[in-house]
């Protein structure tokens, strides 16, 4: 049987000034075809001005089990937020 086309992750910039955003994935034999297919699958209604395609197998993802060790440390650092600091109204806007 034929080999299945590899999977690509598709990122689209909806307009200049915004980041490319992950919109989904699709199968294609190579990068060029992946871009053409992404045009047809994800931008039929002018949803984009630029497309990135990345082979899915090249993406390294953090493991769901690492969620705690990775993100919990940020939890007790309220002093990173401006609202942590009480500044008298008399000071004016800051």
């Amino acid at each position: 049987m034929s080999r299945e086309w590899p999977l690509w992750e598709i990122f689209i910039r909806s307009q200049n000034g915004l980041n490319h955003r992950h919109v989904g994935s699709l199968h294609a034999p190579d990068a060029e075809t992946a871009i053409n297919n992404a045009r047809d699958v994800y931008t039929r209604r002018k949803e984009g001005v630029s497309i990135w395609v990345v082979p899915s197998k090249e993406i390294t993802a953090s493991a769901p089990s690492e969620k705690g060790p990775l993100f919990d440390p940020a939890e007790d650092k309220v002093y990173r937020h401006p609202t942590f600091y009480d500044i008298p109204d008399d000071v004016g806007h800051m």
């Binding site: 086309w5 994935s25 034999p29 190579d30 047809d40």
Partner: protein, 330 residues
């Protein structure tokens, strides 16, 4: 509904601590994302449901594809082409959502082509006249919307995102269908008759799209707890009838149900159930077009093999050439 009668694979007996934690997350409205822990039954049921939905989008192109070359105007032809292309897109969104659960698209296609996987019964009915394009957009996409709107809130992230994308596009499908019906219903006597005939033929098959009553089904209870099913089949069917009957009245067409009547008490219409024996026959493969639909799918897949393989060979060759060039440059 595009996924009718999906068997749910609940675990039997006591919930493990992991399962309890999982259910608590769903109850709290948390979304489940790929690779996170999930009960095997949740994963399997979702694969079955999402792939069934994807197959429906893909096979659903065929009854309408039948009329692309015969659309009455160039504009109608462009519209129908765009709609059918959307359905192909819907199929692809859903296949890739299912792939995040650990099944490949080729495996799913294999299940479709071998007849192991199901698709919605509605696409096994023939499209005999141009008015059928109107009836399908209006009723079939209308029924699909009824089911898909609540599914935007489903618990599985990739499925929910696919549903959101699809729902954005479905409204055009329904409106272009209703627009065709309006034109026909206000046209010549012959056109009006065609519109009425299309409604007559598609009304009950559209009601079947929601699947048989599942009010007391264990499967749907499990799926509802997992939030991969949001409403019962009967709820959605009732909603569809309530919404559609006034639309038919506006067209001056008659819903082919002599017992259709507004029920003040329940705030909805009483209506005749479709013939469920017919539904089960169609699901079993004995509908008017099952063989033709599946045959067309398989033929397209097989006859496209040389092309897919050719592109793969070209990609391999180009990759090798790039490799050689990189080595030479070192």
């Amino acid at each position: 509904m595009y996924a009718q009668m999906v068997k749910s694979e609940g675990s039997s007996g006591e919930q493990t601590p992991e399962e309890k934690g999982f259910q608590a997350r769903i109850d709290a409205g948390d979304k489940i994302e790929p690779k996170e822990w999930m009960p095997e039954g949740y994963r399997k049921t979702l694969i079955r449901q999402i792939s069934q939905h994807a197959h429906s989008e893909i096979v659903g192109q065929l009854p309408e594809g039948n009329w692309i070359t015969r659309a009455p105007t160039l504009e109608r032809k462009q519209i129908l082409l765009a709609k059918v292309q959307d359905e192909a897109g819907h199929g692809l969104y859903l296949y890739s959502a299912a792939e995040t659960l650990g099944i490949s698209r080729d495996e799913m296609l294999e299940q479709l082509h071998s007849g192991k996987a199901k698709y919605s019964s509605i696409f096994n009915y023939p499209t005999l006249t141009w008015a059928d394009m109107g009836a399908i957009g209006w009723l079939v996409d209308g029924a699909a919307i009824m089911n898909q709107v609540p599914l935007q809130r489903t618990s599985y992230g990739p499925y929910s995102r696919a549903m959101i994308r699809i729902c954005k596009e479905e409204s055009f499908h329904q409106r272009q269908g209703y627009h065709i019906m309006m034109k026909m219903a206000r046209g010549t006597d012959a056109q009006r008759e065609m519109a009425q005939d299309a409604l007559n033929r598609f009304w009950y098959p559209a009601l079947m799209m929601f699947g048989p009553s599942d009010a007391n089904s264990v499967h749907s209870e499990q799926s509802m707890a997992w939030k991969i099913k949001i409403n019962t089949n009967d709820e959605l069917r009732q909603r569809f009838v309530n919404e559609t009957v006034p639309q038919a009245e506006f067209l001056g067409l008659e819903v082919p149900d002599p017992d259709l009547a507004w029920n003040e008490e329940k705030g909805g219409y009483d209506f005749t159930q479709p013939d469920w024996d017919e539904f089960f026959e169609v699901l079993k493969g004995n509908g008017p077009c099952n063989k033709e639909r599946l045959g067309t799918r398989v033929q397209a897949w097989e006859e496209g093999a040389w092309f897919r393989d050719g592109l793969t060979a070209y990609a391999d060759k180009a990759a090798k050439r790039r490799e050689a060039a990189a080595t030479a440059a070192e």
